[in-house]
Symmetry: C2
DNA sequence: GAGGGATGCTGGAACGTTCCAGCATGATCA
DNA sequence: TGATCATGCTGGAACGTTCCAGCATCCCTC
């Protein structure tokens, strides 16, 4: 059915050279004359030669592919999409593909990657255990805690604590005193979720603000029927709603406006991980996590880790995130 | 730096068997006793054995990974994200990973996949040429025209013509007669874009409706400053705006409402590739392309193609899409 | 108790590449 | 002129798996 692919041996026979020389030419290593190079490339083009990546990997130990794992429940949030596309660009710059790991992980699973990024991993994530077992270098985006923690080569994180405090300070400067944090704790049980709640409580205590946490869903379909928010607003328990989960601010805006509440006047709305839509609304106070640049940075860092750069094996900060005040 | 991984031979030595028997046990093929199986698995677990995918691929010819290519400009549309995640699930069901191909394609590039899906490919797409050259089975989602067309193993498509006519009929039944189609022709130069415009013109001619096409951008940031739409509305040239590009209806809604125009009353709004947000708005007439199921179906079809199923090598319809009337 | 089949296991070849030691040949230098 | 070195190329081993033909051994059957 499928025609057998041409190999370097076929090329070698065609031009009357040894496979070693052909290999040298095609990989650009070793020694060969310009004339030989031209003949080999011509023959390769004529025969439709394409490198067999499996053979290359087997011998060289390099695969040419990076893995990425996104949080199961929240994979659909624009943040992760943007992050993944940025990571794909970053991998591309290192001549590597990007492989998406599915949520189901067999612990004894094998991988065809040189390294992997795990984004906002839940504690004791199966993927981390499986990767560690397979000896794959791991970059954790956001802190990882649990089994295999020692096998994580490096961590990349945005300065969430500082960014969030900056955003909260802006709201306070606008006169807000009663804060409600909408968290995705149940659905996105990552270190980020925890630290966000911790920062929120600490900041509220320090500034003497009222702080309440509400656990909500990332799924907008559930939002439409979520009446707790309306209850809080109706009960006049808050003058600033802070949304941890991406897209939550957008959904909140719809609910609030439907109740005749004016954003930026009756109430302030903030997003700690702004979606594109949310960035476009100037009334919102937002943290733009710059997910595309973030993903690209992660891939670049992973490249350094794989290359064995000793400096790469530690904690890194991503400094591309920005806070913008609502008007 | 990295500890050498245990191989099948290490296990064989540990349990005093030949590598063939160990291989049989681990792959579940061939003949071996239950007792042997237990011993081998125990040793494998103890040594932390993980299959070397490169060696497996080299010998067996199977890679265990599917490739996916998304349209360069429109990658960020939720449709493609959902499609890719559905494809990842479908690949997972076939024990395969999903590899994201970047937009930049070197024509002589090699691939580490068993097959690939190209979604809404532009004519003469470099990726198709490269895949065909590498002998990779190709599934085109949406028609492909151009170089390498004959190398496309199969095509999967939704019944866009029927769906779009159904949606347009619904608008006509609501009394709409002057239609404007917002197209992404310049940015998404796929067969879908073309056929959508063709269907639109044909339907308008058949029903005696007025039909105008406007070429817009997929980027919501540009929408905010796009004044052509406002011009059309202000000029009273239309009573129904039909959006080809996903997300365009959402952006249109914002612009229209800002002008005080009531959706569903003053004007009807339709989306031919509804985004999640758009599905939630009951006033819109939408085609739900069910992208997740679509992507899953594509991966399943690719699995059949790779398995050599002769029935898979032809044109297929995806029947999961639905039209919903606005209220 | 001979024939035949199932069972459990084995050894080696093969997949296509990279890597390495090494071999002519010709140029360069003292 | 002999020693040294760079150049261009070569042959074989190695990577870890899968696949295949085949070899004892045991059990069943007539």
């Amino acid at each position: 059915m499928s025609t057998p692919r041409a190999t370097i041996i076929d090329i070698a026979e065609a031009v009357g050279l040894s496979k070693s020389t052909v290999a040298n030419v095609l990989s650009g290593t070793g020694r060969f004359s310009p004339a030989t190079s031209a003949r080999v490339h011509a023959a390769a083009a004529k025969l439709g030669y394409v490198t067999n990546r499996a053979a290359r990997s087997l011998r060289s130990g390099r695969v040419g592919s990076y893995g990425i794992h996104l949080p199961t429940v929240a994979r659909r949030l624009p943040f992760y999409t943007e992050f993944a596309l940025g990571a794909a660009d970053g991998a591309d710059a290192a001549q590597a593909d990007l492989t998406l790991f599915t949520s189901e992980i067999d612990p004894a699973r094998s991988f065809a990657v040189d390294g992997a990024m795990v984004v906002d991993p839940e504690p004791d994530a199966a993927i981390v255990v499986a990767l560690a077992r397979a000896g794959i270098p791991i970059l954790s985006v956001g802190a990882y805690h649990g089994v295999g923690e020692a096998d994580v080569a490096a961590t990349l994180d945005a300065r969430h604590d500082a960014l969030q405090r900056e955003a909260l300070d802006l709201l306070r400067a606008r006169g807000r005193r009663r804060f409600v944090l909408l968290s995705l704790r149940r659905e996105l049980g990552s270190a980020w979720t925890e630290s966000t709640e911790r920062t929120f409580h600490a900041w509220c205590a320090e500034t003497g603000s009222a702080g309440e946490v509400l656990d909500v869903s990332a799924d907008p379909a559930r939002w439409a029927s979520d009446e707790r928010l309306a209850g809080i607003v109706a009960g006049d328990r808050t003058d600033a709603i802070v949304c941890a989960g991406q897209g939550t601010a957008h959904a909140s805006r719809i609910i609030l406006e439907a109740s005749g509440i004016r954003i930026g006047q009756d109430i302030d709305l903030a997003s700690f991980a702004a979606a594109p839509d949310e960035l476009l609304d100037p009334r919102l106070t937002v943290i733009d996590l710059a997910p595309t640049a973030y993903g690209r940075r992660a891939a670049e860092l992973l490249t350094a880790i794989i290359a064995g750069d000793p400096d790469a094996h530690r904690h890194h900060w991503f400094d591309g995130a920005r806070v913008r005040a609502g008007v």
